[in-house]
Point group: C2
Chain length 349, copies 2
DNA sequence: CTGAAAGCGCTTACAG
DNA sequence: CTGAAAGCGCTTACAG
């Protein structure tokens, strides 16, 4: 490995000057800087991270901890974030250390990683409301960015879509089409994104003067099986008048709902409208549903570059509050939503 | 952060002695060792990785590089390995650094990580035959372990199942049931596991005196869509006499095949037998297929602890050849395989 | 059995 | 504008 000393020797300079040249210190002359740069390039120099960390307290490495087992369902979205973050961090010359969490205590793995004194900060994802990991790290002044946010008045850097709007706009679209009985198949209750969508759903239903029917707001992991089960229960079950429209928290839930409509001999959108939120995951395309699915759309990978930059900037001393991004999802109307059926299949209760 | 000096000061010992006590050097007295251990525990000491690396050349960190985009299909298996390895490495006090590879040159990301001079070794997965990454790292003497192996005479540590046997035993089971036209829906050709299975398939077919029909050995990514398409083409297409049995490289391929049989009005196993290799991925259960699927079974996560241990031992100086594991997959006969139909749906060509 | 000292490769006051 | 020196927290010959 080439060291600063190697470059210095080659050029007849001290390591001090070489270090300064490479780190863009203003006092070094332009000519020296260029010579050093050229030599570093030629010799294939890359700074030794361990030595840098020891000297500066910064390692150029950040951590991400994945909850396993119970949360395996998050694989798809987690993998998307993980790979995207890793690439975006690499562009900022930062490495990503991965750890898994298998225990009950959500902060324990963070404590352990901090003890190693190796990482400059953390990326968290899938926050629950008032996430204990966030307060733990915040209290200790550890830089962190969050994909999502654990409360609306978050005081740390985050990137999230407006989940309240995601739900509300979906309701508004369907209400405008004349639907009155609108079911919302939401994600698991503890996650803040799901809690926020539930609020948006209720608010928009209230504003449209529509009742939230018994059992019409459900909380499940994003799987086709759950979507199928809930749709079957709502459409054919004994829970009162069936919904004429479904809003699904994910494409997988929508897949299950579509399956259920087929099995019940219902046509989409003639008998029932279906829409979903689309995270833009590869290999899961809303437009290739039959019929093509109306969605609110926000690709998860769009979060990665902003999050990576925010974390690196934060570590560099930027103001946390300036690193908060609230994005709006895009509403894409396709063929799975249509006017409410003139006469309900069953009379209004 | 507690340092060796802190412990030394608290105990009236030098950092030298503290370091030795913590690292189990034989010369330190049992009493001193215990005192040091207790103090370290009490003060919450964890060695600073960067300092250790600088002093010893070892960082306690290893790397894994994931190919993205084109290879996204590998998500499921990759995530399983990634999470499993991370946990298994943590048990050996080793951290995992993740990088993504988005380029064309497969060795470039390894070269870049080596330049950082941060990692003690690498875990590779999904090797292609004569994988250039493996020779690149081997030539430079970088410790590595491979999930799978890129050739049968591999001279590095690996953990793999016997893919030749996986295919051969499947053929033998079906041949014993009287099947003569057996299709093999394999994984992509370039991966060594798929190449090895193709060899096993051909060998077992030859040994059973059965012909490999035109188009009966296919290579596709492990998706339900590919399974569906191939099964449809083989069962209803113009490729000659249809197979009476399918062996699938993965559960997803089998899912597609099952779907195709339903659409064609064929009963499994009466009209056609179906079996697959099952990687033991969560949320994808062979026994919940209808009918329950006969499989060769080897859970991917079983590879993680052996691989993690092998890598740590290798870094510690163990003989690479002693760290090679070839496991046999388990044959589990369920309800999707049965005797070959008495009379073929179409006559023997 | 224990300790003082050098060194790993960097950064950063402090001098000039 | 450049350099000599100290220091980050460890490990490891070298002495005793």
């Amino acid at each position: 490995m080439t060291t600063l000393k190697d470059i210095g020797t080659a050029l007849g300079l001290s390591v001090t000057t070489v270090s300064r040249a490479l780190n863009d210190f203003p006092e070094v002359s332009a000519q020296t800087r260029d010579r050093v740069r050229a030599a570093a390039e030629r010799l294939g120099y890359q700074a030794n991270r361990s030595a840098q960390r020891l000297a500066t307290g910064r390692s150029g490495m950040v951590g991400m901890i994945v909850k396993t087992s119970a949360d395996y369902r998050a694989d798809q979205t987690f993998m998307e974030i993980l790979v995207g973050m890793s690439a975006a961090l690499a562009a900022r010359d930062t490495d990503l250390v991965l750890a898994v969490d298998q225990g009950r205590d959500p902060v324990e793995p963070y404590r352990r990683m901090l003890g190693r004194d190796l990482l400059d900060g953390f990326i968290l994802n899938a926050p629950v409301t008032h996430d204990p990991r966030i307060s733990f790290l915040n209290e200790r002044g550890i830089p962190l960015v969050v994909h999502g946010r654990d409360r609306v008045d978050a005081d740390y850097p985050f990137f999230t879509i407006d989940n309240h709007a995601v739900a509300a706009e979906s309701v508004q679209l369907l209400a405008a089409l004349g639907h009155r009985r609108i079911a919302y198949l939401n994600g698991p209750e503890q996650y803040s994104y799901a809690a926020r969508r539930a609020q948006g759903y209720r608010a928009a239903m209230a504003q449209a003067g529509l009742p939230v029917l018994e059992g019409a707001l459900t909380h499940d992991p994003p799987t086709a099986a759950a979507g199928y089960r809930q749709a079957l229960s709502l459409l054919a079950g004994q829970r009162g008048a069936p919904p004429t429209a479904f809003i699904c928290g994910s494409l997988l839930l929508a897949e299950g709902v579509m399956h259920a409509t087929v099995d019940l001999g219902l046509a989409v959108p003639r008998d029932v409208s279906v829409m979903a939120h689309d995270d833009g995951l590869p290999m899961l395309s809303a437009s290739s549903f039959t019929p093509a699915l109306t969605v609110t759309h926000a690709a998860l990978h769009d979060a990665c570059v902003p999050l990576a930059n925010a974390l690196v900037d934060l570590i560099g001393g930027a103001d946390p509050m300036s690193l908060q991004v609230l994005n709006r999802a895009e509403l894409i109307v396709r063929d799975s939503t249509g006017p409410a059926p003139e006469t309900g299949r069953t009379p209004w209760p």
